[in-house]
C-alpha cells in the first residue's frame, strides 16, 4: 500500500499525457489535410522570427497594457513549469520537495515562483475585467458569442485556480515546516504564501497535511486536465505560436503567390508552338486542379496551422478597415471559421474510419459568406496586427480565386472591370491607343 500514491500518480500522468498525445496526432492529421506548400527556405530567418515573435513576444507589446500582462502570464507559465517538474518527480518517486537539496538556489526559485504566481493572478484578474466588465470592443464582436466567450473566461478561471492551489499548497507546507512535521523539510522561501498561513493557523497537523496534499494533487491533476483542454480551446496558441511564427510569411506582405497551375495554362495559351488539339499526356488521368479554395482541404497546411493557432485576441479585426466601418468582414472570424470547419471535417473522418465522407457543406457559404470576402481591401492590417504571424488575407484571396475562376461569381462591377482589362488593357473602358494622351493634355 505504501506505493499506492506513486502508482495512482503514474497512472494519472500516463492517462493525461496519453490523451494529449492522441489529440496532438489528430491535430497533425487535420493540419496535413491542407495542400503542400514549400516553406523550407531561409531557415535562419525563420528561427529568428520564432525567437523574436513567439519567444520574445515582440508583437504583443504593440499594445502595452495587454502586452505586459500577457508577458507576466507567459513568463509565469514557463517558469512555474520548473516547479511542475519537481512535482512530477516527487509524485513518481514518493519524495517531497526533491530539489530542496539545491539549498539557497531552491529558496530563491520557490520565492520567485510565488511572486510570479501572485503576478499571474493579478494579470488574470485584469484580463477578466477587460473581457467582462470593461467589455473591450474586440472581445464582444458577434463571432465571440457563446463558446468563444466561455472558452476565454474558462482559461482565466483555470489559471486562477491553479495559481491559488499552488500558493495554498506552499502555505500549508510552510506551516508544516514550522511545526516540524515528518517529511516536511525546511526548504523554500514563501514571500507570498506566508500571508495565507494565518488562515491555516487553527488547523491541526493532520488537517494541514490534508490541505497540503489536496492542493498538491489538485494542482498537478489540474495541470494535466488543462493540457487536455488545449485541443478543444483557442488556448492551443501556447504551443502552436512557435511553429506558426516559424512558418510565417517571409516575403513582403504585398506579395501574393502566383498560382502555378494557372502559370502552366497561361504559358500553353501564349506558346505559338503549342498544339491546341494535342491529346493530354498519357499519365494525365488526375482530376484537373481546382483554382482557389471553397473548403479547408483546398487551403495549404500553413493556413490550417494558422487557424488552430488563432487565440481569438481580435487584434486583426480591430485593425481591419472594413470591420471598423461596420462591414461584416472580421479577419478573426475567417480564422475561427476555418478552424471550426476543419474540426468538423476531422470529426467526420473519425466517424468514417479515417475517410472524409462528403457532408454537403463547405467553408464557403456555410461558414464564410461572400459578403465578407468581397469587403476586404487586402490592406494587410490584419496580417500586421497578428502577434503570432497568422495571415487571414491569404485565405480571403484563395476564396476569391475560387469565386472568380471556378464560379465566375465576382460582383458585376468587378466583372466589368475585368472585361475592360481583357479588352483594352485597363480597368476602365478607354482605348489603348489613347494611353499616351496625358502627355499633351
Amino acid at each position: 500500500m505504501e506505493y499506492l500514491p506513486n502508482i495512482v500518480f503514474a497512472i494519472a500522468l500516463i492517462v493525461g499525457i496519453g490523451f494529449f498525445a492522441r489529440n496532438v496526432k489528430k491535430l497533425s492529421r487535420n493540419i496535413k489535410l491542407g495542400k503542400d506548400v514549400d516553406v523550407s527556405d531561409n531557415k535562419p530567418q525563420r528561427w529568428k522570427n520564432m525567437a523574436k515573435i513567439a519567444l520574445g513576444q515582440t508583437k504583443m507589446v504593440v499594445r502595452p497594457i495587454a502586452g505586459l500582462m500577457h508577458i507576466i502570464v507567459y513568463v509565469g507559465f514557463i517558469i512555474i513549469n520548473i516547479e511542475v517538474l519537481e512535482i512530477i518527480l516527487d509524485g513518481l518517486l514518493g519524495t517531497h520537495r526533491l530539489f530542496s537539496q539545491l539549498g539557497s538556489l531552491y529558496n530563491f526559485l520557490i520565492g520567485s515562483f510565488e511572486i510570479l504566481a501572485l503576478l499571474v493572478i493579478v494579470a488574470v484578474i485584469v484580463f477578466w475585467i477587460r473581457r467582462n466588465i470593461i467589455r473591450i470592443q474586440r472581445f464582444i464582436k458577434p463571432e465571440m458569442k457563446g463558446w468563444p466567450k466561455t472558452d476565454g473566461n474558462m482559461i482565466l478561471y483555470i489559471e486562477l485556480v491553479l495559481m491559488t492551489l499552488f500558493l495554498t499548497m506552499n502555505a500549508a507546507d510552510f506551516q508544516l515546516q514550522q511545526l516540524g512535521a515528518d517529511h516536511y523539510v525546511e526548504a523554500g522561501t514563501f514571500p507570498v504564501s506566508q500571508f495565507i498561513v494565518p488562515l491555516l493557523d487553527s488547523l491541526s497537523e493532520s488537517s494541514l497535511i490534508l490541505v497540503e496534499r489536496s492542493a498538491w494533487w489538485l494542482h498537478i491533476l489540474g495541470i494535466l486536465a488543462f493540457l487536455n483542454y488545449l485541443y478543444y480551446s483557442k488556448h492551443l496558441h501556447i504551443l502552436l505560436a512557435f511553429p506558426n511564427t516559424y512558418y510565417g510569411k517571409l516575403k513582403p506582405q504585398g506579395q501574393f503567390n502566383n498560382l502555378e497551375s494557372v502559370t502552366n495554362e497561361v504559358k500553353l495559351m501564349m506558346d505559338p508552338d503549342a498544339d491546341p488539339f494535342a491529346a493530354p499526356a498519357e499519365d494525365d488521368t488526375a482530376e484537373p486542379e481546382k483554382f482557389g479554395a471553397s473548403d479547408v482541404m483546398d487551403l495549404n497546411w500553413v493556413q490550417l496551422l494558422n487557424a488552430y493557432t488563432c487565440t481569438e485576441c481580435g487584434r486583426c479585426t480591430s485593425e481591419c478597415p472594413a470591420n471598423q466601418t461596420g462591414k461584416k468582414l472580421s479577419p478573426r472570424k475567417i480564422m475561427m471559421d476555418t478552424r471550426d470547419r476543419l474540426e468538423e471535417v476531422g470529426k467526420n473522418m473519425d466517424a468514417n474510419k479515417g475517410e472524409f465522407v462528403p457532408d454537403g457543406k463547405q467553408l464557403l457559404d456555410d461558414y464564410i459568406s461572400r459578403e465578407e470576402l468581397w469587403a476586404c481591401t487586402t490592406c494587410n492590417a490584419c496580417v500586421q496586427a497578428c502577434p503570432v504571424s497568422i495571415d487571414p488575407l491569404s485565405i480571403i484571396v484563395e476564396m476569391r480565386r475560387y469565386l472568380v475562376m471556378e464560379q465566375s461569381a465576382a460582383p458585376t462591377e468587378l466583372n466589368n472591370m475585368m472585361s475592360n482589362i481583357e479588352n483594352n488593357g485597363a480597368p476602365w473602358p478607354y482605348n489603348q491607343m489613347d494611353r499616351l494622351n496625358w502627355v499633351n493634355e
Binding site: 513582403p252 498560382l259 466601418t325 462591414k327 481591401t377 487586402t378 490592406c379 494587410n380
Partner: protein, 263 residues
Amino acid sequence: MSEQLKVKTMQEFMAEGKQPEILFWVGSAGSYDDRAKKISRAFVKLLNKADVDFAVLGTEESSTGDVAKRAGNEFLFQMQAMMNIELLNGYEIKRIVTCDPHSFNTLKNEYPSLGGNYDVVHHTQYLKELIDNGRLTITGEGYKGKRITFHDPCYLGRANSVFDAPREVLSKTNAELVEMKRHKKTALCCGAGGAQMFKEPEKGDMDINVLRTKDALETKPNIIATGCPYCNTMMTDGIKAHEKEDSVAVMDVAELLANSQGL
C-alpha cells in the same frame, strides 16, 4: 495645352538604338484618370528638370493585372503579366519607376517568378535618389508655413516597408510634416485596395475613406499628401464628405515637389 513635356517612348529609343536610364511605368490610372494624369505630368516635369533619360511604353503599356489578381482573377493577372514581361524583356528593361504603389508591388514582387526581373522603384524613392545624388536641386521657400500630413499607401508602406522616402521628399518642400495617429505600419487603408476602387462597398455604417480622412483632418493639415493615385481619389472624396474641400487639398508627393519648384 500646357507647356510641352519631353516624353519618349521605348519604340523611339529602339529606333535610335539607345537604352533609357529608366522606364516610367505610367499605369492605367496615371494614363486615363483625370486626377492621376496630373500626377504623371508633375512627375515628368521633375524628370525633365533633372534631365533624366527616361522612356514610357506608351500605347504598348497594358494593365499590370494587379487589380485582377486582388479580385481573385489569377488567370487574367498572369495573362497580363506575361504579355507585359514579354514586352519588357524584349526591350531589355532593367529599371522601372512608377507612381502607383500597386504597380510597384506587383512588378517588384509578383513578376519575378513569371520571368520578369527588374529593379523597381516607387517615384518617391526615385525622387529622393535624384535629390540625394544632386541631379535634382531643390531651392526656395516651397511650402514653408504649411502643414502637410502624409497618408501611407498600404502597398507602399505596410506591404513593402517604404516609409521614409516619401517623407524625406516632402521635407524638401520645407513644409511642416505632421503624422496622423495611425501611420506607417499601422496606417489605415484609404478603402480602394483589393479591387474596392472598382465596386461599391459592402453594407456598413461608414465608408473607409471617410474614416481615413477623419484621421487626416485631426492633424489640422493644409494639405494631405499621398503617393498613390487611388489613395488620392479616395482621400479627395473623403475631404468632400467632411466638407473640407475648400480648406484642405489632397496632392501627390510629386505634385508638391514640382509645385515647390514652380514647375
